[in-house]
Amino acid sequence: MSQIFAYILHKGGVADDTALELISAAKKIDADASLIAVVTGSGADLDTVCNDLTASYNEVWKIDNAALAYPNAEVIRKLLVNIIPGGSIILIAHEHFGMDIAPGLSIKMNTSFVSDAMDIEGRDGGAIKIIRQEYSGMASTHVTCDAGDGAVISCRPGSFQPDESKSAGGQLVDKSGDAGDLTANRTFLEVVQAETGDVDITKSDILVSVGRGIEDEENLEIAQELADAMGAVVSCSRPIVDAKWMEKSRQVGTSGQTVKPKVYMAMGISGSFQHLGGIKGSPFIVAVNKNAKAPIFQVADVGIVADILDFMPELTEKIGGM
């Protein structure tokens, strides 16, 4: 029987949501494969995560080592090369850790690599057929990956249904003794927590969120006026923070804040998965974008094809006059 490995992210004794998503991804490659979760860390939290995962994976490989307490990708990559047999298929979530470890892992395992898989259409002999997006989601592609010598595939968080069946009845295997040499020329020091800003966008029920479509720092005023009229707070996408037009604490997305408003007004935002990853709780999403094909229209409830610089002032005026 074939084996498929999944590297599990976890925190505070709880496996990341992607742990169950990778099961669906693996089953799309081979419904009969034996699924092996690889879980690294140290101490009681690690045990809790491993025990929980035996319900979902056929085998859970636990690697307990003080050197693994913080997941330093350079160290974990070495570990995975030490313990996972050559020719294997390895799945990992495509977020910051996955981006750090996966490309190099494929080289060291001498396998193919496909990143940011959104869907998997199955396996045809040695080839795996994968769906990806390019150009910030403006075009999709089918990709084939020669997995004859194995493959590393990183999967987009939220794209695969979590497999909640919990019927694997798997076994825990302690592989700590096989860890091998874990030295790396990159040493973890600390995590610096994000600064809190002047406004807490996570507390607002209504967000007027601006993206690159705002075009100029001075135009932020237009968004602020709309927000004032609506009783909303202004948040933004990443390019606005990169340009230093707004504080990082106003950024919505995987590398910014996670918000749960009732209404989310996406103004000149294209709808990248990293941005959408910061919007939870299924708010009512209004998208205004001058490009009718912008990916944001796929997830919005209501869409308006317009120039935000014209549209926002008109909306503000109308609301103000009510």
Binding site: D100, A102, S115, Q133, L189, V263
Partner: protein, 263 residues
């Protein structure tokens, strides 16, 4: 410090509406505006700032066709000292590993202390930097948003992780880092700057110069292949409000009232 920055010429997604060709073989490339990959621009700026602080040089390199030379010149106008174009028909349709192999061959001809890439390019793969590092047996870190030079052999770096938090590490030189946007504010390049470097010689290296086996790169060497482009089913998609602006706003306000979007 001798710094090499890998840059790529890509269709500018902020300037273009990317459309898939009718037969699905490619995107519509007529009239596309190309530019330097956004992330690479931050990487070059960072390299220039490090050089200006500790001395050394910045070299920009790209794997691409003749037209890719323009992005090298643009980055040289920003302040990079040298440019190298890696171009050969045999490089066409390389996968990420192929591109990394081509870059590795060039890097081994020189002596670099620090190699920078962008975090990701147009196809959003985010793979070349990590692959290159592993092939060269160099330490790697991705999504770097802070670099401090500690001494000749060590950098202190910050990586952007979830929620705006930052993971701090020390990494040994030489190393490969992929740069995240926002690490700095890339300087503006004016027409005059571009003119100044217009006639600077940019060497072009191909398969033979790099001593690469032709079947390791390009279409033949690729284990990962793009089969087609397509436009995904829209699913439910948004209800697109139509009519005059006035009508649209009236409809929108109805929706907002119903959903608690107006206070």
């Amino acid at each position: 410090m001798e710094i090499l920055v890998c840059v790529k010429r890509v269709p500018d997604t902020a300037e273009n509406e990317i459309e898939v060709k009718g037969d699905g073989t490619d995107i519509e490339r007529d009239d596309l505006v190309y530019s330097v990959n956004e992330w690479d621009n931050y990487a070059v700026e960072e390299a220039i700032q490090i050089r200006d602080k500790v001395g050394g040089s910045v070299t920009v390199v790209t794997v691409g066709d003749e037209e890719s030379e323009e992005v090298l010149r643009r980055e040289m106008a920003m302040g990079a000292d040298n440019g190298i174009l890696l171009s050969d028909d045999a490089f066409e349709n390389s996968d990420g590993k192929g591109v990394a192999a081509i870059l590795k061959a060039e890097i081994e001809k020189g002596k670099y202390d620090l190699i920078l890439t962008g975090a990701q390019a147009d196809d959003g793969a985010g793979q070349v930097g990590g692959m290159l590092a592993a092939m060269m047996d160099l330490p790697y870190a991705s999504l770097v948003n802070l670099i401090d030079v500690v001494d000749d052999s060590t950098l202190k770096i910050g990586r952007e992780i979830e929620g705006g938090n930052q993971e701090m590490s020390e990494i040994g030189l030489p190393c490969v880092l992929s740069i995240q946007t926002g690490i700095n504010e890339p300087r503006y390049v004016g027409i005059r700057g571009i003119r100044k470097v217009a006639s600077v010689d940019i060497p072009v290296h191909g398969v033979a110069d790099l001593g690469l086996p032709a079947d390791a790169v390009g279409e033949t060497g690729a284990k990962v292949k793009r089969m087609d482009y397509f436009v995904p089913e829209m699913g439910d998609g948004a209800e697109i409000l139509e009519g005059s602006t006035e009508e649209i706003i009236d409809k929108l306000i109805e929706h907002l009232k119903a959903k608690g979007g107006l206070k």
